[in-house]
């Protein structure tokens, strides 16, 4: 049994929260630069260049690239040979978020109750998904997920006769409805299959993968590429001001499902696609 200490998880999580908000990933930066070369609208190119400048200022001055520093969402892969000592895993993660947000001058964006809505004052609780895996390592993936794109996300329980055409139609409609509200250019995360709750998780999980990486199954990869084309044909463009870059990437995750079901979840991510990753 390998031991991992509570305090090490706290300091690692703190760092992940800050880096996610200050330092745009290389994958997203490359997608911006590529889009700035191919974008057909003048305003669209201007927007993309402003986003590139913004990322540089954020990283240099250690200020968040976006004021919505989001809900901190974690996917944790806990090896079954790994033992956490000194406190609970969940508490360690929340303590890391608390420290990361307070000491990093990040915004507190969580309310304690969806109806009475009092700010919790430290950006906790975070959303934590734990998967038990083989081995003795603790892998932590973190994203700061903003409200604008999350609010425009959607899930629909399609049925088998809707087929892949029905799936595509639902995805395109969701992106169309979101328009500028979700801060395009987007990263579109899609879950197909599973059941009601696991489908939404698939979509979220897909957003943790690097922008620009295709699915390992060639058929899914082809569907991703097709969707990139048809989403970009919508004309929404950077910030919805018209253009050929509405999405930077489309990510699909699939899972087996019931004979009567075809669930589809679309989890939109804005261009501030902030995901960081560490192994303890």
């Amino acid at each position: 049994m390998r031991e991992v200490y509570y305090k090490d998880i706290v300091s690692k999580v703190k760092l992940l929260c800050q880096e996610a908000n200050y330092d745009l990933g290389q994958d997203v930066m490359m997608a911006f630069e590529q889009a700035a070369r191919t974008e057909s609208s003048d305003i669209g190119r201007e927007v993309l260049n402003q986003l590139i400048d913004n990322a540089a200022i954020a990283s240099e001055n250690r200020v968040p690239m976006c004021q919505d520093t989001g809900v901190s969402v974690f996917i944790v892969k806990l090896g079954q040979e790994c033992h956490i000592t000194g406190g609970s895993l969940y508490e360690a993660i929340n303590e890391g978020v608390r420290k990361g947000y307070e000491e990093g001058y990040l915004r507190y964006s969580i309310v304690d109750n969806p109806l009475t809505r009092k700010n919790t004052g430290d950006n906790t609780p975070s959303v934590i998904h734990v998967e038990i895996v083989g081995g003795d390592q603790l892998e932590i993936q973190m994203t700061a997920k903003g409200g604008g794109a999350e609010n425009m996300s959607a899930l629909k329980m399609l049925t088998p006769s809707d087929g892949v055409e029905g799936v595509k139609k639902f995805i395109l409609n969701t992106v169309k409805q979101a328009g500028p509200n979700a801060c395009p250019p987007l990263v579109v995360g899609i879950g197909i299959g599973g059941n009601f709750e696991s489908c939404a998780y698939l979509a979220k999980k897909s957003l943790f993968k690097p922008v620009g990486e295709r699915h390992s199954n060639p058929e899914i990869a082809k569907l991703e590429e097709e969707l990139i084309q048809s989403i970009n044909a919508l004309g929404i463009g950077p910030q919805g001001l018209g253009g050929s870059t509405t999405t930077l990437d489309v990510k699909i995750e699939v899972a087996p499902c019931h004979i009567a079901a075809l669930p589809v979840a679309v989890n939109l991510n804005c261009h501030a696609s902030r995901h960081k990753h560490a192994v303890l």
Partner: protein
């Protein structure tokens, strides 16, 4: 790209009339911040017949909830939030003399009609560029609703703050027009 320099608040009546959907502008002057909770509270105060903590006549509201400033900085990251969440409250504030709004994303038809009726203007700033936009903010002063934290009303002094005109009194909608121009599929 031509960027028109505009000064705010809109004390000069001609300024708004000169704006058209799609104009790229640089705003300078003073504006107020307010988002969900501050809007809700302002409208509740008006419903109770109370006076607002700020006189909105000719003013511009920026939908933003900034991050805390680092020591020595004026403000943290400060980009626009989604405007449609304020739609419910907006017509009422336009009736009280509000002339401009800065945010991101679509407005409802009710708000667009109220913009036309009240000779007002809706600007979009680039969502997710809060680090860059913060550089165009020169001073910050807390004005009201301090208990709302990031959602409190603050007065900002801005200089060359970049925006696009989405809806102006002429009634056009720049999101609709500009997207249609680049659409390569059937509606």
């Amino acid at each position: 790209m031509v960027q028109k320099k505009i000064s705010v608040p809109f004390n000069d009546e001609g300024t708004i009339k000169s704006l058209q959907a799609g104009d790229q502008v640089l705003l300078s002057g003073t504006i107020f911040t307010a988002r969900d909770a501050a809007h809700r509270r302002m409208v509740e105060q008006l419903e109770k017949g109370e006076k607002l903590p700020v006189d909105l006549t000719n003013q511009v509201i920026y939908y933003v909830g900034p991050t805390p400033a680092r020591p020595g900085d004026v403000i943290g990251s400060a980009g626009p939030t989604t405007s449609s969440r304020m739609d419910k409250y907006t017509p009422c504030l336009l009736e009280k003399g509000l002339k401009g709004m800065i945010g991101k994303g679509y407005r409802s038809q009710v708000v667009i009609d109220a913009i036309v009726k009240n000779d007002a203007v809706y600007f979009a700033a680039i969502g997710g560029s809060g680090a860059l936009l913060a550089k165009r903010i020169k001073s910050v002063e807390l004005v009201a609703y301090e208990d709302l934290g990031t959602e409190a009303i603050r007065k900002l002094e801005i200089e060359d703050f970049p925006c696009t005109v989405i809806n102006a009194p002429e009634g056009r909608d720049w999101y609709k027009e500009s997207q249609a121009a680049f659409r390569k599929c059937k509606e």
